[in-house]
């Protein structure tokens, strides 16, 4: 998946976790706290990403995530190369 597709998916996941969130306001720099994501929401968000992108988050590294961009960058760097 390219970056635009990853971003769209992650934003879609976030939208299911916060009531009445205007998704147009979400960017890579958006902090979880600003979006209204609590710690359970963040755990669920990582699960959604693992399930969709076939990756495993390193739990220590994931503890340091605070923004949407942190998750997207991790996915970009760890997703399996597309088969040719």
């Amino acid at each position: 998946m390219d970056t635009a597709e990853i971003e769209a998916k992650v934003i879609q996941f976030i939208a299911t976790k916060v009531e009445n969130l205007d998704t147009s306001t979400i960017s890579r720099s958006s902090k979880f706290e600003e979006l209204g994501l609590d710690s359970m929401d963040t755990i669920q968000l990582l699960f959604d990403a693992e399930d969709t992108f076939g990756i495993n988050f390193d739990s220590e590294e994931a503890k340091g995530f605070s923004s949407v961009g942190d998750i997207i960058s991790y996915i970009e760097n760890h997703q399996a190369p597309a088969s040719s």
Partner: protein, 406 residues
């Protein structure tokens, strides 16, 4: 002190909302079909009462759907319908509004799907525990409607809904709440759960080709119950407060009886059933002679229906044949922890309309089942009192008594 039913909400295989449910019930419509929610070809019992038109996205946000099991979603819809029917609960302080919900299995759809993932070495969803736990339905009802009083869950298998309603009566009598959202919810039309009941020989296996005729309480040749899902919720409050706020009044919740067989973990026992029914009648300050109608537990198992028939004859003697009995499970199948809550709504509607809904598929009764079960066609009997029976695994017997308002 009298406790009144001021609102009702039902989500069932024969209809969502009391009007649709009751219209189907009096017309003897079956809600049992081939299982559509998963491939049941590996099960011996391949039919169920599913709420096929239920769509949580029509009333719940994606967040609620992600964090809730199907049984909670069914409960949330039934609770919203009941609260709306009661005209809202805004006149009460949130801390005085209690929730009392019964569920036999809790969020087993979540449990089963997460177990599959675990055994395939896939990540387990983070909301596995909060969705599975039995008290999640009661908790989400509280969250959605901001109900901050006592919040209880009762899990006593097939009698869960009856005990949850009985516990609500106790809360109101004890003054621990001013109004209670009470009932039951269940959603275990599921491969593992059904397999578990199959192994106990509790489910029907001989009617896969003819689902609508599969559930036949008291009938000759019945061979087990039909798994079903649903939810039923009542709004209960003391008469004084209900009158003060000008609430609609459906019926009086007059008594609750409870007894444990203390004998066998799954086999029914007559003495315990008699004791529960007698307890409910005495709790209401009434005598057995005053009972006009019984919404029977009647699951369509070979043994259970006979034992309940014997229990009714034992308690009511010669009068047993004069009592109009009806089996809601002949229409819906067995909604386990929701069954007595839905059965209560059928009982209350019988008191309201005078009609007893039929026990369908009762062309020829079992010779050992020889009472008036209202076979196949609804009857106008104008009952003034109605017992709703619920007998669960664990030897757990509960009976609740409703009366008309006068």
């Amino acid at each position: 002190m009298r406790v009144i039913v001021t609102g009702m909400g039902v989500v069932s295989p024969i209809g969502i909302g009391t009007d649709q449910f009751w219209s189907a019930a009096v017309n003897g419509i079956s809600g049992i079909k081939k299982i559509s929610s998963f491939d049941a070809s590996n099960l011996r019992s391949q039919i169920a009462g599913e709420v096929s038109e239920f769509n949580p996205s029509t009333f719940l946000s994606p967040k609620y759907i992600e964090q809730t099991d199907r049984f909670t979603q069914l409960a949330l819809l039934a609770a919203s319908l009941a609260i709306e029917d009661a005209g809202g609960l805004d006149t009460y302080a949130p801390q005085r509004v209690a929730v009392s919900i019964g569920s036999g299995m809790g969020g087993f759809a979540t449990f089963e799907s997460s177990a599959i993932r675990k055994f395939r070495n896939q990540p387990v969803p983070p909301f596995t525990v909060p969705r599975t736990m039995a008290n999640s339905a009661a908790a989400w009802i509280a969250i959605k409607h901001q109900l901050k009083g006592v919040n209880l869950t009762c899990s006593t298998a097939c009698s869960s809904g009856a005990n949850a309603i009985g516990m609500a009566l106790d809360l109101l009598r004890a003054g621990r709440a001013d109004v209670v959202v009470a009932g039951g919810a269940e959603a275990c039309v599921l491969p593992l759960t059904m397999n578990g009941f199959e192994i106990l020989h509790a489910l029907t296996t001989g009617s896969n080709a003819d689902p609508a005729r599969a559930s036949r309480p008291f009938a000759k040749g019945r061979d087990g119950f039909i798994m079903a899902e649903g939810a039923g919720i009542l709004i209960l409050e003391r008469e004084e407060e209900a009158t003060h706020r000008g609430a609609k009044m459906y019926a009086r919740l007059a008594g609750y009886g409870q007894a444990c067989d203390a004998l066998h973990i799954v086999m029914p026992n007559m003495e315990g059933q008699v004791s529960a029914m007698r307890g409910a009648i005495e709790d209401a300050g009434m005598a057995p002679d005053s009972i006009d109608h019984i919404n029977a537990h009647a699951t369509s198992t070979p043994l259970g229906d006979i034992v309940e028939t014997r229990a009714i004859k034992n308690l009511f003697g010669n009068r047993a044949r004069d009592i109009a009995i009806s089996a809601t499970k002949s229409l819906l199948g067995h909604t386990v922890g929701a069954s007595a809550a839905i059965g209560s709504i059928a009982t209350i509607m019988a008191l309201r309309t005078g009609m007893i809904h039929p026990t369908i598929n009762l062309e020829e009764a079992d010779p050992e089942c020889d009472l008036d079960y209202t076979p196949n066609v609804a009857q106008q009997k104008n009952p003034r009192t109605g017992l709703c029976n619920a007998f669960g695994f664990g030897g757990n017997n509960a009976s609740i008594l409703f009366t008309t308002l006068e």
